[in-house]
Structures are given as structure tokens and as C-alpha cells.
Symmetry: C6
Subunit: 76 residues, 6 copies
């Protein structure tokens, strides 16, 4: 991908950091499968699956660890 | 989402920290599937599944690592 | 839950720390499925499943990382 | 493998770091299955699978933790 | 369990540390399923399964992270 | 096992560190299933499986975190 989608990992608040972790998680999917039509077709497979949603939350949790560390845990 | 649900990662006790880790884990699911009716329908799929419950506890464990680090492990 | 089940993450020995990691892992399950009858019914599904037991040990391992860090690795 | 594919883990930006994490994740696959024809045949199995894409994003997330730490989180 | 099986996490060498990580991983299984006859019956389910063996190695890897940190990475 | 297969976790380069992470991941399998004939028979089960290859890369990623930390991220 040639666009700049991650200029910085710094966020103002933990919540923005969590939302950045979601972006990171989704980008991991998009890099692996860049075709948007395919991604749209697959969406119900995980968004309507308990296991798929838990797995998605797991990836977000791993990326949130990184974002939190980058931001020195928003300790001020 | 536009509401503020994560103003801070600081908690008074490890137990509150663990409960915040649960909140984080659930939010990862809700961001991925915002429709509450769908989420309610899916609940039995993991809440009545041994594998689903273990997977849920796994995500909580990852988020608890983050919350514990943020709180400097509640060392006082 | 309103009871206090996690007053502290400090333990005297690594083994007590490991056992606390087990407690944390089980609590993650109980918070997700608080009904004890359901949990009892599900027990054979993972306790008699090789995959289920490995998954349980995995969650314990993640929580043990946290407990070990909290206790500064019991270095003295 | 005898080629040099990982001369350094340092990157200029977080995004380059994320892309390096993708490279690391793919190399883990290639070391395990070096035959390119087999890899090509398997590609649809995960690139068209919601679970497979989430799992791929998970591995990237773990490697991104490493790359981010190496780069001292691009703190400047 | 009332026996002392983890008096210390300190090892002399990385290899001993890795073997301790295996012990930790197995104990996670035994605490969850203490019945030795059941465990013996389940052994072929993972020891003859590619997925089961990879999952076992994954748990060991997580515990090895902990043991390595405890030992300050055997840096001397 | 009585042979010495892990005398040190120090490597000269990140790539050697990644390859050591592969060794660690494979050893986790071998300790769990020491019989080489069984391991050979199982190889196609993961080496020809997209999920199996992703899972293998995941374990390598976890071990690479450890090796990278041991080597102080090859910062010089």
C-alpha cells in the first residue's frame, strides 16, 4: 500500500488508543486481502459469529498493548 | 462510536482492573459488531460453549496485562 | 460481581503466583457465564478435550506473565 | 534460507514497522513451507476466510509488538 | 495441589528455562484435569495432531517468555 | 532430552534471531511428540494447511519476541 495510514501511534486518550488498535487490526486484514469486495462478502462470517468476534477482540487487545506502551500508558 | 467509555485506564484495585479488562474485551466485540440484537442472539454461542468461554477469558487476560502495566501493577 | 476475590496480586512464591493465575483464568470464564449450573455442564467439554486443556493452559500462561511481573519475578 | 531478508528491524516510521511485521509474519509461513507452488495453492484458503484473515492479522500484531519495541516506539 | 512443584523460576541455562516452561505448560493442564487416567487417554489426541502440537508449542512459548524474563534473559 | 540444543539465546543478527525462534518453536513440538516418524507423518497436516501455517508463524512470532528481548533488540 502506498497511502500513509499510520503517521503516528500517539493518541490523546486511551479510548483513541483503543480505536487506533482497531485500525491496526483491520489493516492486518486488508494487507492480507486487499480486495474490498471479498472483504465485504466475508464480513458476515465473523460479524455474525461468536468465535469470530472474540477472535477480532483478541487481535485488538494485542494491538492495544502496543499502542498503550507507545503512549507510555497515558500517564501524563 | 462517539460516546466516551474509556476516560482512564487507572483503577484503585487489581479487581477493578480486571473488570476494566472485561470492559475492554467486550468493547472489541461491540466495535466489530455494533448491532445489539445480533450480539444478543450470539451470546448463547459462546456463553454455553467451553471453547467460547476459554477464548473470552483469554482476551480478558491479554487486556488485563495492559491494565496492570498502566497501573504499575498496583504496587502502591 | 460484588464480592472481593482479588484483593492483591502479590504472592509469596512462584507456585502461589501460578495458582493465582489459574484463579484469574477461571474468573474470566465466570464473569462471562455466571450461571454455575451451566459451567458444571460445560466442564466435561474442555476437561476431557485435549484442545480444551491446552487452551486452558494457554490462558493460565498469559495470566501468569502478569502475576510474575507484578511480583517482580519473585527476585528477592 | 541463505538469503539475507532481515538485515535490520529499524524502520523510519510506524507504518514501515507495521509492514515489516507483515514481512516477518509471512517469513514464518515460508520457513515452514518453502515450496512456493504449495503456498500459492493455499492462499485462497486464508485470504477468502474470515477466520484465516483474523488469524493473519493476529500474527502481524504479535510481530508488530516486537518491531515497535525495537524502534523504541518511534518516540524520536 | 499441595505438593511443591515450583520452588523457583531461576534456571542455570536457557535450555533448562525452556524445559521449565514445558513443566509450567503441563501443570496448567494438570490443574484443569487432575485425573491422570483421563490425561493419558487424551494424549494421542494432541500428540498425534499437527494442530495440537503447534498449540502445545505456543503455550510453551508464552511460558518461556516469563521464565526468560525472570532469569533476566541469562545475560550473566 | 539430554542433548544440548540451546546453549545461548544470543545471536549476531535479527535474522539469526528469527531462525532461532523457529528452532525454539520446533523444539516445543518435539518435546511434546519425540517420535520422529510420527512427526514426519504429521508434517503434511500443517505444511499443506493455511491455518496450520499461520499457527506455526504465530508461535515463531511469540518466540521471536523473547529472542529479540534477550538480544536487547540488536541495538548495537
Amino acid at each position: 500500500m502506498t497511502d500513509t495510514w499510520l503517521p503516528s501511534l500517539i493518541t490523546q486518550t486511551p479510548q483513541e488508543g483503543y480505536e487506533l488498535a482497531i485500525t491496526l487490526s483491520r489493516r492486518g486484514v486488508k494487507y492480507t486481502q486487499p480486495d474490498m469486495d471479498t472483504l465485504k462478502k466475508l464480513r458476515p462470517d465473523y460479524a455474525n459469529s461468536a468465535d469470530g468476534l472474540t477472535a477480532a477482540s483478541h487481535v485488538i487487545a494485542v494491538n492495544f498493548q502496543t499502542v498503550a506502551a507507545v503512549n507510555n500508558y497515558w500517564r501524563g
